[in-house]
Symmetry: C2
Subunit: 211 residues, 2 copies
């Protein structure tokens, strides 16, 4: 498809729309106007309409948006109408936290394997998945055509690991290591740099105190 490129600013807002629409759906709300949604979400109605229009417009003049339809359309755009297989590399607390987060399962992310380099963890289970030696990762990923690798390992190990992952055909890396990975551009990387986030918080504490 020769769609025009959608800005990451817009993409970054979609999950939040999705979350609010899910809440509305649960409450049994059938339709909503950009203005009502604006009031709830504290963003401008104009931005809401502009954002949805990037994808062709899901509303109807004089009516607003159908909550269920809009919800489904956004889930398609985000690609969470399909299943995605994932493995977790690094079976520490963070890896376990992520594996155990049932919300991901609900969104179609299927936890298929866990790897670590600590022999004490081999054979232990996270949910119903056995932790394996990290040497077995490549074969496992290839054989099971895993799409996403979650990197919850120290930054020194993350860079060579990303290389290996690239070689065995991974599609995407969800990177929790505090380092920028360099991978070929057919591989999608999403970074979660927790310390960056904490520093922003620190900045804002500081800023407020000096005002």
């Amino acid at each position: 498809m020769a769609d025009k490129e959608i800005s990451q600013a817009v993409i970054g807002r979609l999950p939040r729309y999705f979350r609010y629409l899910g809440d509305l759906k649960e409450k049994g709300v059938e339709r909503i106007s950009s203005q009502e949604l604006s009031d709830i979400m504290k963003v401008t109605a104009s931005q809401i309409r502009q954002d949805f229009n990037n994808f062709g417009g899901f509303g109807q003049q004089g009516y607003g948006y159908n909550v269920n339809y809009l919800y489904d359309e956004i889930s398609k755009i985000l690609g969470i109408d399909k299943q995605h297989s994932l493995v977790i590399i690094g079976a520490g607390h963070l890896g376990k936290a992520i594996a155990g987060y049932t919300n991901f399962t609900r969104r179609g992310f299927v936890f298929k394997g866990a790897f670590d380099c600590n022999p004490e963890l081999y054979g232990t289970k996270i949910r119903d998945v056995e932790v394996r030696p990290v040497d077995e990762m490549e074969e496992f990923v290839k054989k099971n055509q895993i799409e996403i690798a979650v990197l919850t390992i120290p930054k020194e190990q993350a860079v060579p690991m990303a290389h290996k992952l690239a070689e065995c055909g991974i599609k995407a890396i969800w990177n929790f290591a505090h380092v920028d990975l360099e991978v070929p551009n057919n591989i999608q990387v999403e970074n979660v740099h927790l310390s960056d986030s904490l520093m922003k918080l620190s900045y804002n504490i500081n800023r407020y105190e000096n005002t």
Copy 2:
């Protein structure tokens, strides 16, 4: 101070500069030009200079930037030259992962307390800190003048907890619950919405495949 407001776009880039400068410092690099930094970080030299200029400019024409000085200045801007006390509310895997992340300690974030509502966890230790019943949180936060609360609890509990925290004088909330908190604006909130991040990744996988 009547500083002009710095955009969050700029603030969001500071931790990354800080990280790269830390690496350079460790390597013993003493000076660096915006062009060299640009090559390493893959952002434009112009943006680097513009960003630093928001704070008055830390460089010298014909010389560039002194790595140590720049590092220290950014750490002051981010407020990580001072210590910040924090408590973790929710002693599950995610809470433990964060408590155990030694990098935070290195940046002056001091882990002072952990709370949970699961009686089985009472008295168990995370690092050298005992997990206490969540009912004791308010008293503890007041008494010890805790600045930051890390919320690693389910979203249903997060909203009332944020209210309680507001009442006992917390300065900031680092929120991992998948909900938008409403607190008075003297309290800083930084959200880490992991599922939003994963959905962005999913979008980008999708986009690449349909190109």
